[in-house]
């Protein structure tokens, strides 16, 4: 079984240094990069499925600046077999639509049974790239997976999709694209064996020319959306604390809520 996992390097949320630059784009130089959290959960599931199948490989697919191999190496140390990085100076500032087209074109160069992605990324939060890639490639799209159960013989895959009341059980034929959640299971720490093995794993770089994308159709100048400003949420009003006998305090709280038509 071959599983491609879309993995994005993002500013380390733990660093507290995520911020936008002057041009409204993410200032990537300002904080250390890590593999996007949700992508690690999808990767963990992919590794478990290939291990259980006893054959196959997990391939990382990343669109990112040229220094991404530093981040991808950790995903290789977790156990992914090889990596493909799409990088090109023309990609800087690309919007979601362009990103989707690039990943779809890169996927066309790979053979796979399944494609996994995290439901969203901690830097962008649009959460639309997996669906967009599925739409462009014509792959069945199963979203918000809490569990993924492929049936190699039948060439089908079932997914437990998180719903307001529990799970919806969906099925699609393979190949299919699945966006996964943290309910897939805690990602493993890389072992020393994994780290040392990652040194010699294949990590290839593709340019836009390699995947047949016109550089003028991507990047900041071709972006379909622009970040025009940023502001913190309005500060909340001071907290009102009610201290009284239980009956009296309860009465005041009920009055407070009733005044605002909350009860």
């Amino acid at each position: 079984m071959r599983i491609v996992v879309l993995t994005k390097p993002v500013p380390d949320p733990a660093s507290g240094a995520e911020r936008l630059g002057q041009d409204g784009r993410l200032d990537r130089a300002n904080s250390p990069a890590v593999v996007n959290g949700n992508d690690e959960y999808a990767l963990e599931k992919a590794l478990k499925l290939v291990e259980a199948a006893g054959e196959g490989e997990v391939i990382l697919l990343t669109m990112a600046p040229a220094n991404a191999p530093e981040t991808m190496r950790k995903a290789l140390a977790m156990g992914a077999h090889r990596g493909v990085l799409v990088t090109d100076p023309a990609l800087a500032g690309s919007c979601i639509v362009a990103t989707t087209r690039v990943l779809a074109a890169a996927l066309a160069t790979l053979e796979f049974d399944l494609v996994f992605a995290g439901v969203d990324t901690s830097d962008g939060f649009a959460g639309t790239v997996p669906a967009g890639v599925a739409a462009l490639t014509g792959l069945p799209y199963l979203s918000w997976a809490a569990d993924i159960r492929p049936d190699i013989g039948a060439r089908t895959v079932q997914v437990d999709r998180i719903s307001p009341t529990g799970y919806d059980v969906l099925e699609a034929s393979m190949p299919a694209l699945i966006s996964g959640t943290q309910a897939l299971g805690e990602p493993r720490y890389p072992s020393l064996k994994g780290i040392m093995a990652a040194r010699n794993k294949e990590l290839i770089t593709l340019s836009l020319a390699d995947i047949g994308i016109d550089p003028t159709t991507v990047g900041l100048s071709a972006a379909t959306t622009t970040v025009v400003g940023q502001r913190p949420p309005a500060p909340r009003a001071a907290t009102q604390v009610i201290r009284d006998t239980p009956d009296e305090a309860a009465r005041q709280i009920v009055d407070f809520l009733a005044d605002r038509r909350l009860i």
Binding site: A66, P69, E70, T71, Y189, L192, I204, L206
Partner: protein, 393 residues
């Protein structure tokens, strides 16, 4: 398409080195540090931590992949020793000695010998010790009096070795013994190296030393009373022993430098935390300039020692002709720094630094050995002076 896999980037650890360092650091913080004070107090060899290192493949780092190891280069081994020693110098030495003992086999062993011994050393099932020093042959290695007499397909080893790290817990001992004593043989061609497999008749542990520091790491005096060793256990040719020992130390001294850097870093972190938490005269003691300056010097000295160590590792792995110089230099600088930094850490903590409520007094005692073993600092300076001046007439 281009292969973007390996861009080492000058003067920056590669991602896999950072991953390895961080993985060992987490293990050291969570599993090793909580045991360090008890190991020091009881003086018992931490076999649980030996198994921990084995289970996490840390002991496999120095061994080739073909024989069950991880094929780690010197830098990887030293990153691991450093992180372990930051929590517990005794535990860091488990890996450093495993590497030291196996180096003669790496450097002079045949493929068959490596296949015979490395898999169980890489798995951590067996430990190996390096027995070179004698009571009357410390810095003057070639003065060794232990002898190995040829007897058919065997050698018979007699004599004693002193200050042998892990000597009482090892399963294999690399022993350096004289195979020639005639005046016609030059001093540096008298020694040969043998792998002694234990248990074996005639071998005994004569005593365990009572040490100032590294108290959980057993340092033994070993007695060889007619120990028969198959000729197939000889490493290299007869007379190669001195050269094997010197080449081993060229590669093993960085392991001690790594231990020293780790001890210094551990002490710096404790002192920094204390200087942040402790308040006197209404302010943090670290905000007093005299204390802040000590911390600054401790940090700068430790980082300088660390960078010299990493550079030495890379040069030695690259086959630099002046490997002896790099290894002597990094051990010299890192050992002296560790002694200074741990002493200053005790000073920063004041009276609290002198009692075992805080780990810095242990770190100070542990640091001292890094100025003594695998060649005293005086020997390192001798190596460096000779590489500058050439040998005396």
């Amino acid at each position: 398409m281009t292969d973007g896999a390996h861009d080492p980037g000058p003067y920056r650890l590669r991602e896999e080195h950072q991953l390895l360092r961080d993985a060992v650091r987490v293990l050291a913080d969570e599993r090793v540090a909580p045991r360090a004070a008890e190991i020091d107090r009881t003086g018992a060899f931490p076999d649980d931590l030996r198994r921990l290192l084995a289970d996490h493949d840390i002991l496999a780092l120095p061994f080739p992949e073909a024989h069950g190891g991880l094929g780690g280069e010197l830098l990887s081994v030293c990153l691991a020793v450093e992180q372990l020693s930051r929590a517990c110098a005794t535990t860091g030495l488990i890996l450093a000695v495993q590497e030291l003992g196996s180096l003669p086999i790496t450097l002079a062993g045949t493929e068959e010998q490596q296949a015979r011994w490395f898999p169980r050393l890489a798995s951590g099932e067996q430990l190996i010790a390096f027995a070179l020093t004698e009571a009357e042959a410390g810095s003057d290695v070639a003065a060794a009096r232990t002898t190995a007499q040829r007897d058919g397909d065997h050698y018979v080893i007699s004599g004693s070795k002193r200050f042998i790290s892990h000597g009482s817990v090892a399963d294999l001992i690399v022993v350096f013994a004289a195979t020639a004593n005639d005046p016609a043989t030059p001093r540096h061609e008298r020694l040969s190296a043998f792998v002694v497999e234990l248990p074996t008749a005639g071998f005994s542990v004569a005593r365990i030393e009572h040490k100032m520091g590294l108290r959980g790491s057993p340092t033994a005096e070993l007695a060889f009373d007619g120990v028969r060793v198959p000729a197939a256990n000889r490493l290299g040719e007869e007379g190669d022993g001195f050269s094997i020992a010197m080449r081993t130390l060229d590669r093993s001294r960085p392991g001690i430098a790594a231990q020293a850097v780790g001890i210094a870093q551990g002490a710096l972190e404790v002192a920094t935390q204390y200087a942040r938490d402790r308040r006197q005269f209404g302010q943090r003691v670290g905000d007093f300039q005299q204390v802040g300056a000590m911390l600054a010097d401790m940090d700068a000295g430790t980082e300088a020692a660390r960078q010299l160590l990493y550079k030495a590792c890379v040069e030695i792995d690259a086959g630099a002709p002046d490997a002896a110089r790099w290894s002597a230099m990094c051990k010299l600088v890192a050992g002296d720094n560790a002694m200074r930094v741990t002493t200053d850490a005790v000073q920063v903590l004041g009276g609290y630094g002198y009692i075992d409520e805080f780990p810095v007094e242990r770190m100070m005692r542990d640091a001292k050995i890094t100025q003594l073993y695998e060649g005293t600092q005086q020997i390192q300076r001798l190596v460096l002076a000779r590489s500058l001046l050439g040998k005396a007439d």
